[in-house]
Symmetry: C2
Subunit: 134 residues, 2 copies
DNA sequence: CAGAAGTGCAATCCTGGGGTTGCAGGTTGG
DNA sequence: CCAACCTGCAACCCCAGGATTGCACTTCTG
């Protein structure tokens, strides 16, 4: 049942993890070209064993990037554009947020700010408690 | 020198690989909040050692998601929104392509097509030459 | 009904890469 | 000039996960 992408939460982690693997992207591509496809069918036209394909399909499904339905003795998978779209939206948002900060930083640098003193951080007082930095 | 994202090619593989790691996303987030940051600074406010941070910064840089400039004795990194944007665009394109095919498939199924015979594929002729399917 | 084709599951192998430690080389500031 | 701080390798540990093999079960076809 996918376990993800059921609602509006894209589950970024699963999606990026799924998309990070080349073989998985290959499988996705094949699935994108054909309309519906079984694991065995994909395995037949890629240099990957059926079992490996199944694993990848599972990951892709959990990421909400594909969905499968059982027909007779075989399971047909198809691509789910919404998943990718959601992830794309997330990335665009992030980029926008960064842009905002950078732009702000820039115009703040150009403005004749009076108080420019770097406040020394003052965070190295007693008790480091951080991880060893070497 | 990043080695990537110099031109218009987003280098999907590097970007997704970079984004797939949680720690790397954390580093990115920190870098997104602060305007510019050194590796040591990031290491100081995350549960990661400086060396690990450096590795992640390298990966992010090669993916074109950040850029660094040497100042005095330290190297300051900043986020690069364009990289993310490019990747997002790629994903959106993919999703669109899939949508197109699925839509086409659907209207083709609804249309009263005369010739509906499944053409049997006929691809299992002589000479499999594929990998062992078990 | 028997064989072929497809799926599901479990055990195993093995490489990649995230994380750490250790040390050497540069810069900065008192 | 010396101490503090930051960066830059390099070697090493360790485990997640990608890939394979083997077998049992179900479904379709002749």
């Amino acid at each position: 049942m996918s376990a993800a992408a059921a609602d509006g939460s894209p589950d970024i982690d699963r999606i990026f993890t799924a998309l990070a693997d080349p073989t998985r992207r290959l499988v996705l591509e094949v699935l994108g070209e054909r309309r519906e496809c079984s694991a065995s069918a994909i395995a037949r036209e890629t240099p990957v064993t059926r079992q490996a394909v199944v694993k990848h399909l599972t990951v892709l499904d959990e990421a909400g990037l594909i969905e499968g339905r059982r027909v007779g003795r075989e399971v047909l998978f198809r691509v789910r554009p919404e998943g990718l779209r959601a992830a794309a939206a997330w990335m665009t948002d992030q980029a926008a947020a960064w842009d905002r900060r950078l732009r702000r930083l820039k115009e703040l640098a150009e403005a004749p700010t009076a108080d420019q003193g770097h406040n020394h951080t003052s965070s190295h007082g007693p008790g480091e408690s951080r991880r060893r930095t070497s």
